[in-house]
Every structure is written in C-alpha cells, then in structure tokens.
Amino acid sequence: MEYNIPLKKTLKENSDELKKILNECDDIIFRELKVGSNKPVSMELIFVDGMIDRDDLSSFVLRPLLRISDDILSNGNKSIDSLIDMLSKENIQISDMKVIQNMEEVIKAVLSGETVLLIDGSEKAIDLSTRGWPSRSIGEPVSEETVRGPRDGMTETLKTNIALIRRRIRDTNLKVKMMQIGKRSKTDMAVMYMEDIVEPRLLNETYKRLNNLKVDEIIDSSMLESLIEDHCYSPFPQIENTERPDAVAASLYEGRVAIIVDNSPFALLVPATVGTLMQSTEDYYTRWSVASIVRIIRYFAAFLAVLAPSLYIAVTSYHPGLLPTRLAYYVAASRVNVPFPSVIEAFLMEITLELLREAGTRISGPIGTTIGIVGGLIIGQAAVDAGIVSPLMIIIVSVTTISSFAIPSYELATALRFFRFLFMIYAAVLGLYGVMLGIIVMITHMAKLDSFGIPFTSPYSGLGREKGDLRDTIIRVPFQNMKKRPRFTFPKNRTRLK
C-alpha cells in the first residue's frame, strides 16, 4: 500500500482522501476547527484516540489555535505559508513539531501517535508530537534482579528506554539511530553504539541486516533477534538480550551495538559470545574475588547442566570401575530395585522435570508453588519408594536442573538443555566415549557459529584470545587491572582506564 502522493491544496480534498484511506478506522478522530471569525481558515486535527496525550492537545494546541484573533490572522493579508510559519513559531505550544508535505508521512505520523494539523489552502501539514499512551512505569527488571546495583528496568516504550541508557552515557559519541521496521507494524527501533569505539564492520553488518529485512510485523525483540541472527537453526542464541539499561550501557562501552525495539523491554546486544552470555550484571557490582568464584561456579554449573545425567548413565552402565569400590557398591545397591536401565531412568526423570518446569511457568503464583511441591517432593519420593528410579538419579536430575538455572542467559541454558538429551543418548550407546563424541559435536557446532562476524566461542577460541583478554571471563579481575577493553569486539579505542 503506497500513498506516496503529495498533499493537495484544499483541505477537503486531503481530508476526503485520508478518510478514504482510513476507512472504518473508528479510532482515528478528525477534529475540524475554524480559526478566526471574520475570514475563517478551516483546519483539521487528525489523531488516533488513545495514542495521544489529550491534555496536551487541548491545552497547547486547540486552545491557542482557537484564540487566534482575526486581526492577527488577516494582518497584512498573510500568505498561507507564512501562516504556517506563524502558527508553529508563535501559537502552538508543543515542543516537537515539523512540517510534512506527503500523504504517506501524514498517515505514518497519525498511526504512530502523533497529531497532524491540516490547513485549508496549504499543501503542507504540521506534524505535532503529542504521543502519550498508557505505559508501564519503570519497574525492577524481573528476569535479572540483583542484590546490589541499579534497580531500574526497561519498559515497553522506546523513548523511555533510550533515555535510561542515555542517562548513563553523557558522551557525544553515543549515537542513536532511529529506524522503522515492519511493512505493516512500522515498529520503531533504535540502533545505539559508541561511534569512537565500535568496529565499523560490526555496525555495517547490523545496518545491512536490518535494512534487508522485509517483514510485515515485529511484535517483540525476540522476533527481530531470530530474523537477523546468523544461524537461525542453531539452538544457541547468537544475540544477547537484557532488560537492564545498565547492562546495555556497559556493553556499549565495550564496543557492542544495542538494538532497542519499541514494545519490548528487552534490548538486543550484538555480538553475543559464550563469554558475554556467561556474564551477569552483578559480577561487576560485587567484589572481584566473590565475582570470580561465582563465575567459576557458573561455568561448573554449565558443565553439570550439560553432562551430569549423561555421565551418570555412562558410569553406571559402562564404567563402574571408575568409581571407588565402596561408591560403586553403593550405586549398584541403590539400583537393585530399579527395573529399568539407567538411560530409561534418566529420561523418565528428566521428562518429568521438564513437565514440571513447563507447568510451573504456565501457572505462576500460589498454584505454581503447589505444583512444585506436588511434583518435586511427592512424585520424587513416591518414585523412589515405588522403585521406578534410584535416589541417586533424583539427586543427579535435581542438581542438573538447579545448575541450568544458574546460567545467566536463559537462551543459553535452553540450548544446553537440548544438548543434554543428545548426550544422554550418546552415553547410553557408547558410554564415556559417546559422551566425548557428543562434546565434539557440540564444540564443533559452537565453533562454527558466528555472531555478526565475531566467533561465538570468543574469547576462548576466537581471534581475541591474546594476552590479558581472559581477565573478564572465568574470573573477573579488579577494575584496576582491566585497563583495556576486551578485544573480541575489535574496539577502535581500547583504553578505558589510565
């Protein structure tokens, strides 16, 4: 649907055309008014009901317009252009406005919550920024809470989010490039970056992908994420998301690019690598020693989340000799009553737990807790008593699940979950050797992945693993020792502390 036509001279023509285009859109209001009484000029205000701030409109646009007296209007037989000039300079008290001349621009403006003022006899219209719709106030970031650190989270409004980030970077090098994506949804979005730090290739790649996108609608940033990422079939996320403005700001300082989508509280950060996905915002707000230990524990958790059940299967069914003799006897004794091989046992428990997790997410609140208790405690206990699974298996499965929640990125955790099941099958077929084959498959897959031209396995295997680049990875050294920005994003300016 193209309306790339210039505006007509008379108000009636324009108004009729608009009404034809916006046919049966009852939420759009056409407010006609006549300015002046002697030689009145007809005007029309067009806006979407509910998307504008009505108080603003009535007190700062309508009232001043209707108060314009005849003598000002007819003073020296003003031309219609100078009337527009006068209106925008002297009368309308809205902070942001611009003159538009095209039907398409009018429609775009109206649909994005602005008010358009059409004036009879002019081929120009005035676009008044009166956006104001009901929005959530800034709350705590629910999915990324921290003990210490700022507590503001992003909301669904783009402008608010940009402001939250801008507040943390008072630098002229912070660039905010606004664009619209979606042929129908015309979703606003902003690309943010630090001009003197970001690598131009990364930025160009981001723009290229965004501009090449031909899509009808973008509902949430997660949709955009899957549309612009490198390998959409991979279980691993190649774009990071966060709802913490401080995390976005910190990433911008590291030379990454942030994409913020209207209607979504989650900002997208590119590139994402294993290193960044395993970082949590809180690491930077606690003392370095604690943060380092937590990091190590987190990597250990990732290891357990992928490998614990498969190692259990491999050891119990292929290599009991690896265990100390007494432990091996204990394991064997605890499995005496279990009629299944350990792989069936593991799959049973894992699937039960996945069910519980899914049910728990669907029903939150008090009923969710009940499901947790019924599922976790009662079924677990009953399954052991009934001899379907061994108590050791329950421990393994719970440790696995707890570990997978210790990974900061939910998407990464789900990817590892996927590989966990693959590894269980491998372990059942080829034991420890099979698990290793699984690891090879996973590592090769991860090494293959790129995130906007930057290796996904950075900084562990990418081009950035040089001297001093592992300071913010498995451990986090004090800020005094992180004088350089990490190299994996190839920042133009590497010094951050002198």
């Binding site: 690896l322 100390p324 034991g431 050797y433 498959v441 090494a447 562990y460 295997s461 990418g462 040089e466």
Partner: protein, 360 residues
C-alpha cells in the same frame, strides 16, 4: 584474502596437529632403541622438526596469502602438481587411518571392551572428519580449545603421577652411542608428523611476519611435552619395564590411584579427555585432505569431499589384522611423511628461490 587465523591459534594448530596417538607409544618405542638416552633422540627429533619448520615457514612466507597447493601448481606445473597432490592425499588418508585405528584400539582396551572396533572407528571418523566441511577459522578455533584441554590434561596428569615417580630410574645417562641415538630419531619421526599444516594455515594468518616465532614456540612445546612423557614414564617404570609397555603413557596414568577420592581411577577421565586431543589432531588433517581434493578437482567448495573420504579411511584403517600389524606397517606413512615433510618443502623452496631470482 581475509586474515582469519590469529597467531595464538596458529601455534595451537601446530601443537594439536602434531600431538596425536604418537605420544602414547613414543616413550617405549624409543626406549627399545636408545634405552635411557631416548630423550636425546626426542630432543634431536625436535631440533630437526624445528629446522624443517623454519624451511616451511620461510617457504610459506615467500608466497603470502597462498595455500601450498596453489603455488605448487605454479611451480611444478600441472603434471608435477598431480603427482604431488596424489602423494599428499594418500599420505593424509594413511595418517588418518593409522590415527583412528590406534585410537580405536586404545578406546577398546580401556573404555569399551565389548564394543566392536568398527563401531568405534566409524563413529569417530564421522564425528571428527565432519570438521573438514568447515572453513579454516573453525578448525583454528577448535585447535585453540583442544590445546587448552591438552594443557589441562598435562598439568593434571603430571600432578597426579608425581608421587609415584622415582627419578633414579632416569640414570645412567649417556650410555648409548651416537648411531643408536640417531636410530632413535627415526623412531620419533611419526610423532613429529603433522607440521606440514603450516603450509596451509600460514596463508590465513593475521600477522604472518611473526609466524616464525610462534611456530618455533609450538615445536618447543611439543618437544618438551615428549621429553616430559619420556622422563615421567621411565622414572615410573624403569627402562626394562618401559620397553615392554605398548602404551606407556596410558599405563602411567593407570598407575595413579587416589584412595578415598571421589574417583579412584583417573585413567577413564584422562582417556575420555584424550578423545578430544585426537579430535584436535584429526581435524586439521581432515581439513587438509579435503583441501587437496578440492585443489585436484579445481572446485571452490571443499566440504563435499568429506563424504567419500570417510569410507576410504575406514577401509584403510581396518586393513591391518591387529595392533602389531598397525605398528609394523607404519613404514608406509613414514616414507610418505618423509616425502611430504622433507622432500617437497625443500623442492618447492629451491624452485621458488629460482623463480624469484628469475623474476628479479
């Protein structure tokens, strides 16, 4: 050509490309010839490899941004190149076959007693040769990761075996004559094969000027690793027992036990991690062989050659009846390796020198 391999990755590529199944049997096969002085043979072997490496790096630096197969065609002519490429591909397939066969035998002995060896071979081949489909960056990234694993294993292993060492077993030193020691150098040859990958990887290097420095460091690390393996095994077993071992390096780890520790036997863990090292070793070779094939048939894509390679390597690897025959037939890959790592680089080096002078 885009520079896609960092120098650290380059170093890791050399190390993982060289360290493979060779290190499992190296200490005993060398002790059989040079007794207590085997480490001298290893050091000499390292020195010779360093020389060869010097030659290869200089050769590759003479042709910046070009893979060996590209300038070999220019230097040797089409016919010469085909002979060269065929020798190359046969050599790669032989090396892969030996590698995967020995690996499978080890896995069968220590991890999966009842699994048929064919299953182990084919599963390993399919999983690890898959990397031949990807670009050099991926191979380099894997190499760096596997290098890290190797590093961790060595540190962990050395700490674990330390209590059982008896360093008096190293002595007496300098009892063997030079001729025997040089005979031992020949025995180390297979363990140092794989350095030829620099002729490919250097073309993609970020800073090719520093390649010499990094490649020498890589050779030094490999030599130190082999000397370590020899010293540790000989001080654990003594010479006469060491000679009787097939895979002394594994036997070394099997000796370790931690009473009261969560894991009583760490050999399973080390063996499992060893799978990754072998993967790091097979990866570059698989990549290389697909690259040769794509250069022979002049195709842009090299990935599709993995598919025919897997069954061929599989059949070659099953050719020897038992492990004894595998080690006995080592001569063929050794001769081919001699041609590939010594004769060809020298030949190409001389030819490019002549050509360089002519264009001047």
């Amino acid at each position: 050509m885009e520079k896609r391999v960092s120098n650290t990755q380059f170093k890791a590529l050399i190390i993982t490309g060289v360290v493979g199944v060779g290190v499992l049997s190296l200490p005993s096969s060398i002790a059989r010839i040079a007794n207590n002085d085997g480490w001298i043979s290893i050091v000499m072997g390292g020195a010779i490899s360093a020389l060869l490496m010097y030659l290869m790096v200089s050769l590759a630096q003479m042709h910046p941004g070009k893979v060996v197969f590209e300038y070999a065609r220019e230097l040797l002519g089409n016919f010469g190149f085909y002979i060269f490429a065929v020798i190359y591909i046969i050599y790669f397939m032989m090396v892969l076959a030996v590698e995967v066969r020995v690996f499978a035998e080890v896995i069968k002995v220590f991890l999966l007693e009842n699994t048929p060896i064919e299953v182990i071979i084919i599963s390993m081949l399919v999983t690890s040769m898959w990397i031949g489909r990807y670009k050099i960056e991926v191979v380099a990234r894997i190499a760096l990761l596997m290098y890290t694993v190797l590093f961790i294993i060595i540190i962990f292993g050395v700490i674990a075996v330390f209590p059982q060492l008896d360093f008096t077993n190293i002595f007496p030193l300098f009892q063997t004559n030079l001729k025997t020691i040089i005979g031992g150098v020949r025995e180390t040859f297979f363990s140092y094969l794989g350095i030829d990958f620099v002729l490919v990887s250097l073309a993609y290097l970020e800073e090719p000027k520093e390649a010499m420095h990094y490649s020498m460091r890589a050779i030094l690390s490999v030599t130190i690793l082999y000397v370590f393996a020899f010293v540790l095994t000989i001080s654990t077993f003594g010479v006469s027992e060491l000679k009787r071992q097939v895979w002394p390096t594994i036997a070394l780890v099997r000796e370790v036990d931690f009473p009261g520790f969560f894991l009583e036997n760490i050999d399973g863990i080390i063996m499992a991690a060893w799978v990754l090292i072998i993967y790091g070793n097979i990866g570059p070779t698989a990549y290389n062989s697909t690259l040769v094939l794509s250069n022979i048939f002049k195709t842009k894509e090299h990935g599709l050659y993995v598919l025919p390679l897997v069954p061929i390597v599989y059949f070659i690897s099953l050719f020897p009846q038992n492990l004894y025959e595998v080690y006995k037939n080592m001569l063929i890959p050794n001769i081919l390796g001699f041609i590939i790592t010594i004769i060809f680089p020298i030949l190409l080096f001389i030819l490019s020198k002549i050509k360089g002078r002519r264009t001047k």
